[in-house]
């Protein structure tokens, strides 16, 4: 028995070492074969890590339909759309603002010194254009009335709203809302991070930062990084906010959505999302109402942006006219689509 144990002991340790080395060599060879030398295998993470969201829109949720043909703007690149009280369309693109009739007839063109990133038309007919880092004011005839002081190299004015004698501009570069009077005097800065006032600050991962004025005299500012619409007083107090991150249709997804908003006659909101191009309606309290259009209506492939260039561009702009028709500026095809509410039944 003792002899047998000894023999087994000798045999075992030899086998043990041999098997261990053999296994180590085998595993190492497998690991070498599995090496992703060319980097084609990607991260190697399982499907559970895939960024998968439901890109389709339930047709039953679509409350609007496109009316008429898409209107070509003639621009190589477009950035903003605005409507005036007479129903004329103002499109900012390339280095100009073009004025169209509702039927798409080009009435006029205002040539600008730079690329316009934002645009609004005041009740008095003055056209406020955000040209990269400063605001320029024009009249309907295209005459420049004023050019306000530049906000510096970092500034990027992506939205303007006018309410009486107050002008508000969203500066995506500096992540702040600027409150001016109509003469271009800076009155206040709104929305800077301030823990004492419970203001979280704006998170703007991509160059989309919109604001609108509502009849309740509260400024609605999109905080895209937080997926919220925030309501501010003229003094810069944050009153409330709504909006939530969700991959479902009720919420906003991606890094930074919504990117643009507009207000309907009943104070409901029209929101515009990029990446997954969706135009949606929310009631005045921020509850989801329905969909104006999804990716299919724009004829674009629903996708999640994968390159910085894709993520930084492709954001549509939206405007609403007196009949609550929704004008969507497709900045990919540089056309305008008009959506009207489907008739009940």
């Amino acid at each position: 028995m003792y002899k047998l144990k000894c023999r087994l002991g000798i045999i075992n340790i030899k086998y043990f070492i041999g098997i261990l080395i053999g296994m180590a060599v085998f595993i190492a060879v497998v690991a070498i074969i599995r090496l992703d030398i060319t980097g084609d295998k990607g991260s190697g993470l399982g499907n559970e890590y895939l960024y998968e969201i439901d890109l389709s829109v339930d047709p039953n949720l679509i409350l609007y339909e496109e009316s008429g043909e898409s209107m070509k703007t003639g621009f190589a690149s477009t950035h903003a759309i605005a409507l005036d009280s007479q129903g004329l369309m103002y499109i900012a693109g390339d280095k100009a603002v073009r004025i169209f009739t509702e039927s798409g007839k080009l009435l006029d063109e205002i040539v600008l010194p730079g690329v316009p990133r934002s645009l609004t038309v005041a009740d008095d007919g003055k056209i406020y254009v955000g040209i990269i880092n400063h605001i320029a004011v024009y009249n309907r005839q295209g005459k420049q009335l004023a050019s306000w002081e530049s906000l510096g190299d970092r500034a990027l004015l992506t939205s303007i709203a006018v309410s009486g004698s107050d002008v508000f501009a969203a500066d995506a570069g500096n992540r702040i809302v600027l409150h001016y009077d109509t003469n271009g005097n800076l009155i206040n800065r709104i929305g800077g991070k301030d823990e004492d006032r419970n203001i979280p600050g704006f998170i703007i991962p991509s160059p989309y930062f919109d604001l609108v004025m509502r009849r309740d005299q509260l400024l609605r500012v999109v905080n895209p990084g937080l997926h919220k619409i925030e309501a501010y007083t003229f003094d810069g107090d944050l009153e409330f906010s709504w909006g939530k991150y969700s991959t479902s249709i009720e919420g906003f997804c991606g890094c930074c959505n919504p990117i643009n908003i507009a207000v309907l006659g009943d104070d409901s909101f029209v929101t515009c999302e990029k990446g997954l191009a969706r135009i949606k309606i929310y009631d005045p309290e921020g509850a989801f109402v329905g969909v104006v259009a999804g990716p299919e209506q724009f004829g674009v492939t629903a996708h999640v942006c994968t390159t910085p260039e894709q993520c930084q561009s492709g954001g549509f702009d939206v405007a609403v006219d007196a009949q609550d028709r929704i004008f969507v500026l497709d900045t990919i095809k540089n056309v305008v689509k008009i959506f009207t509410r489907k008739k009940a039944g």
């Binding site: 080395i21 595993i27 690991a31 070498i32 090496l35 980097g39 979280p200 991962p205 994968t306």
Partner: protein, 431 residues
């Protein structure tokens, strides 16, 4: 029984360390978080430059001390302590970078790409161990290389590797060196750094497959002394050749060899050469004929391997990102694949012409074709020389440490009775 205990403890330590390394973050954190502000671009802190020079000074000091300990002091314990220090300093503290093994690629790239400048510290890291090898043998391997040290520490139950197998496996190091030079020269990749099997341990982070390879090598190292150094290390090839020419080198005995055979099995790296008699008359004629045939076949082997290496350019050139991108764009444009990759999307976003990309890729592939000749030719030459070496009978009268293969670890010292006599004399002198 005690040895088995050591082995189990060693394996437990390995599993624990590799487990800790693999438990690191495998999924990137969210890209956007509230209030995050991108830090402004900073230039390297001056202290980093100081570290580089400090590393060079430490390397020089460690090599000098290793030479003293190996050749004069002849103390395995002191060599071991220095080895542990090197592992902690160059390995775990400096995270295995810069290392002379990887520095080979920097030097190669600087030769082929004139726009690439080699940092002074990297140049010193490449040259200093070679210079020391030329004078003192492989003292770098003995006590300064962290890769060697980590394997040496886990060597608990050495088993010998047959010399034919050792010779065969060592060819892999030549292939690896040639491949590393080819990919560095073409600006494709720093192969040695990318697949360094132990750097993941030093950094507690790394590719899972490389970590597995490193763990397997450490498991093998428990039984087979320093497998990476002996069969894989491309820098070791350079050190081997220079060590052959070294002015001073390790000797097993401090005096004359008494042929007691006590040291015969003391080297876990199979570096001790036994005394050999002259060739038997009957073998001499056959050996001479075999040598003549091999010498004639050598150029044929070189050309054949060179041709094969060049023929592999379609495969080898895929290591270059431009070639990979061009192939991907071609597949997408011809509809052979439907999806896109990040690289292809990024390329299309640049607006560059596809034709220009194809031209660039073809140029790179042509470079691989030329480089493949050298790569294959070198491998063929090494195979041929290896066969020739086997056919040459070397006469030895004493037990000797192999000039090229001795890692100067000093393990054999204590087996020599003459060494014990020397130590006793030293002690007596001290008393």
């Amino acid at each position: 029984m005690i040895r088995i205990g050591y082995i189990i403890i060693g394996i437990a330590v390995l599993c624990f360390s590799s487990g800790a390394a693999s438990a690191l973050e495998r999924f990137p954190p969210p890209e956007f978080e509230g209030g995050y502000e991108f830090p402004s671009t900073t230039t390297p802190h001056p202290q980093q430059d100081i570290y580089e020079y400090m590393d060079t000074v430490v390397l020089l000091a460690a090599l000098s001390l290793a030479s003293y300990l190996v050749l004069r002091k002849r103390s395995r314990r002191a060599i071991f302590i220095l080895m542990v220090f090197s592992l902690l300093y160059f390995g775990f503290w400096r995270k295995g970078c810069v290392c002379p093994i990887g520095a080979t690629q920097n030097i190669v790239l600087s030769i082929f790409d004139h726009s690439y400048a080699v940092p002074v510290a990297v140049a010193f890291f490449f040259l200093l161990p070679l210079v020391f090898a030329l004078f003192f043998g492989r003292v770098f391997c003995a006590a300064v290389c962290p890769l060697g040290a980590i394997q040496d520490l886990v060597l608990l139950r050495p088993v010998s590797v047959p010399s034919w197998l050792e010779s065969g496996l060592r060819l892999f190091a030549y292939v690896y060196l040639a491949a590393a030079v080819l990919f560095a020269a073409t600006g494709s990749a720093f192969l040695i750094c990318r697949y360094d099997p132990f750097v993941a341990f030093f950094r507690l982070n790394g590719n899972l497959n490389v970590l597995i390879i490193g763990t397997c090598l450490l498991v093998i190292s428990v039984f087979i002394g320093r497998p990476y150094c002996r069969f894989i290390c491309p820098y070791g090839i350079l050190l081997r050749q220079l060590s052959r020419l070294s002015k001073w080198r390790v000797t097993i005995t401090p005096d004359e060899c008494v042929q007691c055979r006590l040291c015969e099995d003391s080297c876990p790296y199979g570096a001790i050469r036994r005394p050999s008699v002259s060739w038997p008359e009957t073998e001499y004629g056959r050996g001479k004929k075999r040598l003549a045939i091999l010498l004639v076949l050598l150029p044929i082997l070189i050309i054949l391997c060179g041709w094969s290496g060049s023929g592999l350019r379609k495969v080898t050139s895929r290591m270059h990102p431009t070639v990979r991108l061009a192939e991907r764009i071609y597949l997408e444009d011809t509809g052979k694949v439907e999806d896109t990759t990040d690289a292809s999307l990024a390329f299309r976003a640049t607006g560059k012409e596809t034709e220009a990309l194809y031209r660039e890729a073809l140029n790179i592939r042509a470079n691989f074709g030329l480089g493949g000749w050298f790569f294959g030719g070198f491998v063929g030459l090494m195979i041929g020389l290896k066969l020739i070496t086997v056919s040459i009978w070397r006469q030895r009268t004493d037990y000797e440490a192999g000039r090229a293969s001795c890692l100067a670890c000093g393990r054999c010292f204590k087996y020599c009775p003459m060494e014990h006599a020397r130590l006793n004399k030293t002690k007596e002198a001290l008393v």
